[in-house]
Amino acid sequence: MGQSLLDKVWAAHTVRELPTGQTQLFIGLHLIHEVTSPQAFQMMREQGLKMPFPDRTIATVDHIVPTDTAARPFADAQAEGMMSAIERNCREFGIRFLDRASGHQGIVHVIGPELGLTQPGITIACGDSHTSTHGAFGAVAFGIGTSQVRDVLATQCLAIQRPKVRRISVDGALASGVYAKDVTLHIIRTLGVKGGVGLAYEYGGTVLDRMTMEERMTVCNMSIEGGARCGYVNPDETTVAYLRGRDFVAKDAAFDRAVAWWKSMASDRDAAYHEVVHIDAAAIAPTVTWGINPGQALGVDEKIPAPESFSVDDREVAEDAYAYMDFKPGTPIKGTRIDVAFIGSCTNGRLSDLREAAKVAKLGKVKPHVKALVVPGSQAVARAAEAEGLHEIFKAAGFEWRLPGCSMCLAMNPDKLVGRQVCASSSNRNFKGRQGSPSGRTLLMSPAMVAAAAIEGAVADVREMLK
């Protein structure tokens, strides 16, 4: 039996097996941001710990930064406090800090790949659950808590249980108007929000093989919403082509050695998996969530499901969702009026996402009752989009063009829903209160679908608009 990528990466990074059955795993790249790191540095100081590998940690700011102004100090004193804390911590511990002045700032899961920090065969940790995004390159990438951020700062290691691998093979052809976001929402809808607990997801099949790196990132990003510990795609020529020439990638002969090593880390053809699941691409429609977790999703042409369609376990959550969302079973999701449209986040805030959304934005104007925001995932994405004139297309259609950050994905900055507003959002979580208003409502969908909803003023089928 051959080995999976996870087997190989695990073996290469194992420092030792711990008596608890966990592995002491070396972490090749540690990414930090302002929300989950300050307490870790506080613990470092209290416990007198030093960093053995300071150049293997990279910092940026994304969660709390305002997107309408770059001015300092921030109007929000707490946000300013977090900003000064990460500045001080990076200075004191000698960590490279990619702030706005560097020109490389952005959502941590957007900048890692675009700088070439994220590479195949390596281990990555970040105090952020969507670290799974980096798996698109064939990295084994874990979201961790703050105590573990301290562990990585102090030891460059994690004590971690090895997950089992479930291969998810998506085969066939995606219909036009169906995007990577729909693939991931469909997988979560099919396997459930707790389906992946204790597992790593290896995504493959002809659909993943044909995807661009940005599309693969969208799929891996939401592994965590399916309950998985991490998700990855095996590195191939698409991966190599993406990485060639990026800032942190080896050059010349060293690049050739890198490529050889990356490819050697891919799963063997006869790799053993805990389980293999097949998904038929033809069955995937533009998908929209209707409820309060990402598994409560349906095709845009479907009706909100009846309580009887759920297992006993899920029925209670469904009842809670009907009440919170104020949706009735049997109502079509299409035509649901929206108040806000948000395009951005680490799921869908990259250049290709903005391009797809702009194609739709070109077809009309944002309805007057809709507030529509486009927030690029990073400064580099913003520059590339502006060079192509995407920002002008969005602005002409009535979207606001903002500065990079997490923004309304979790609304720790000033971008928030108000009251019971309904938001069509290209982000990853539709939990109660997620977008900043304790009673706000989120409908997750692809960026093109968000643009379509902004123009219709209601949930629309992007396939009809693109005809």
Partner: protein, 206 residues
């Protein structure tokens, strides 16, 4: 560095938190995470489930007169508790509110790991036992719920339920090695050796 504190038994008054898929945004809304310490996070636990927009109580179980005991508390939960984000702010808020252990049907992975790192056991019981335990504490909340990590039991008012915990986490709690830093530091030399074997650490120079 802290000394090893084994966690063999945790006792406290029960607090039932009913519902599947209770996510970390619900446990601690993001707007209360804008702080550089975890101090004071306890008061925001389940904030939006507890209070409406005007700050009026919604009658959440945390504010239920039956469950206002002082001292350490043990939460009882259903399936996939703590799903969503990796924010340690969630277990920190629960810990600082007074919760020292959780017994439930199942837990989300990262949340579970974060709890272990704080020395907070999250043990699982069968759906039937959790239902029985919730019913028992809702009928009479005036006893300590005792989680025995060594014996793998939960005992309430004379009834004992079997619970489980993955071996690794159980050993960490019993050995007092749940705060992993010291264990990891013990292998600093091996860590350097592992790093030296990884071609990318040296920039693929050879």
């Amino acid at each position: 560095m802290s000394t090893l504190i084994p966690i063999t038994k945790v006792a406290g008054r029960p607090i039932p938190l009913r519902g599947n898929d209770i996510d970390t945004d619900r446990i601690i809304p993001a707007r209360y995470m804008k702080a550089i310490t975890f101090d004071g996070m306890g008061q925001f636990a389940f904030h939006d489930a507890r209070f409406d927009a005007d700050g009026e109580s919604r009658g959440h179980v945390l504010d239920d007169p039956r469950f206002q005991a002082k001292g350490p508390r043990i939460a009882i939960v259903n399936k996939n508790f703590g799903c969503g984000s990796s924010r340690e702010h969630a277990p920190q808020a629960l810990l600082r509110w007074g919760i020292r252990a959780i017994v439930g049907e199942s837990f989300a992975d990262i949340f579970f790991g974060n709890c272990v790192a704080l020395g907070m056991p999250c043990v699982t019981g069968s759906a039937a036992d959790i239902a029985a335990l919730m019913a028992a504490v809702e009928a009479d909340s005036a006893h300590d719920l005792i989680i025995d990590v060594a014996a793998m039991t939960a005992t309430y008012n004379g009834t004992t339920y079997k619970v489980s915990l993955p071996d690794g986490a159980r050993k960490q709690l019993l050995d007092g090695t749940w705060d992993a830093t010291r264990t990891l530091l013990d292998a600093a030399e091996q860590t350097r050796a592992t790093a030296a074997r990884l071609p990318y650490v040296g920039g693929f120079k050879s």
